[in-house]
Subunit: 237 residues, 2 copies
């Protein structure tokens, strides 16, 4: 299996970094191919804009989806985006590793969603959820949080974790067609001590290897590209 | 009333821009003071990092909250962040205007949350939700989406709007102590025609003026700064 880990934490000695290192080692030991997109180390640019493309669909009015679908057709994404799209297209299993900041992914990862998962590449009208472009592939969220399980429980102040992760699980990954695994959540990560964190690392290694062992139905890049309807551009206006 | 509108859309002729212009005019006509933070026009940097601060709490390991609370004490935020914090501190009513992208705020606004709403400025341990630093002030989310009301209904594929906006409403604004108004949502904004959009503009003008007319309990910047406990820095380790 090809596994892509998209990782968003600025500190190389962080627990997030340790989770990535452990997952990578466990997956490789199980015979899988692993690529890591380290967004902070790569200085990934989170800001959507005309600098995403070498083409211009409309010079007078910037409509992001219209620019994206034209670039998808003409293979006119800038190298940073094209590289990430090639990684996503090649991945059977997509793992997102990040700390919950203000209840969601860091801006650098949100910007990766916006710029890389472009209209015409990751979704088009009529190809969402059960008919999504990435239908048949798997995705796994792995998040760390200072919050305890009680705070994310039914009566917790933060709300249930399913609700907290809804934007990413439902409106991003499932939207694209991915079969989404139960999220891996390291609750109270700064408070559980070295032993608690060691247990989290073991559990995460087990979870990623388990996810990578499940069957996928992987489509080719060509099929993805052909699936963009001819009038997709017009539909986004 | 002092009103701060934080606005995140890259296109000046967008419907989001029209909503901001209309709200600004309506609020000024009602006698309020309005400031707009136009994140794309200002080229706001969404990426959290050491470049946020002129101080360094720990040169060996970058722990964002530790760096933030030190900068909050020593007033060592870079000018871009200090300016936005001053605007937030001065605002009785905070309005966030953005298009729903992947179910949430654009990365540029998520980065504004991370960098501007710093530990030691916007929240500290023991001062969250009902005891939040901004308790007594008001906030209003205004979002546009291509999705129709049916898609955000109880059986809609996107889930109920309360769940979609949970991260921003609950885990950001209420977390800081804000009293959060019912969100203003322009459903199907690209599909409702000029008449539909004109109705949305009228409704939004009414909503912001209504929100600005409600009483607030505004604390001073000095009180905010004094409220940071002496051991806050240690607590974040």
């Amino acid at each position: 299996m090809n596994v892509l880990i998209v990782y968003a934490h600025p500190e190389p000695t962080s627990f997030n970094a340790a989770l990535v290192a452990r997952a990578k080692a466990a997956l490789r030991a199980a015979g899988h191919t692993v690529t890591v997109s380290d967004l902070y180390a790569d200085r990934f640019d989170p800001e959507a804009g005309r600098h995403d493309f070498s083409t211009i669909a409309d010079p007078d009015r910037f409509h992001y989806q219209s620019e994206q679908v034209l670039a998808a057709r003409q293979e006119a994404f800038v190298p940073e985006i094209a590289r990430e799209q090639a990684r996503v297209a090649a991945a059977d299993l997509l793992v997102l590793q990040f700390p919950l900041w203000w209840g969601g992914p860091p801006a650098i990862l949100k910007g990766w969603f916006e710029r890389v998962l472009a209209y015409g590449f990751a979704y088009v009208d009529g190809r969402r959820f059960d008919t999504g472009v990435f239908k048949g592939r798997r995705a796994l969220l792995s998040v760390t949080t200072g919050g305890t399980t009680a705070r994310f429980g039914p009566h917790g102040v933060y709300g249930e974790i399913e609700k907290v992760l809804w934007q990413t699980q439902r409106l991003t990954l499932q939207y694209m067609g991915y079969s989404v695994e139960e999220p891996f959540v390291a609750y109270g990560a700064p408070r559980v001590g070295d032993e608690g964190r060691a247990a989290y690392l073991d559990e995460f290694a087990r979870r990623v290897v388990e996810a990578a062992a499940k069957p996928v139905d992987r489509r080719t890049d060509e099929a993805l590209r052909e699936s963009v309807p001819a009038d997709a551009w017009a539909q986004t206006r």
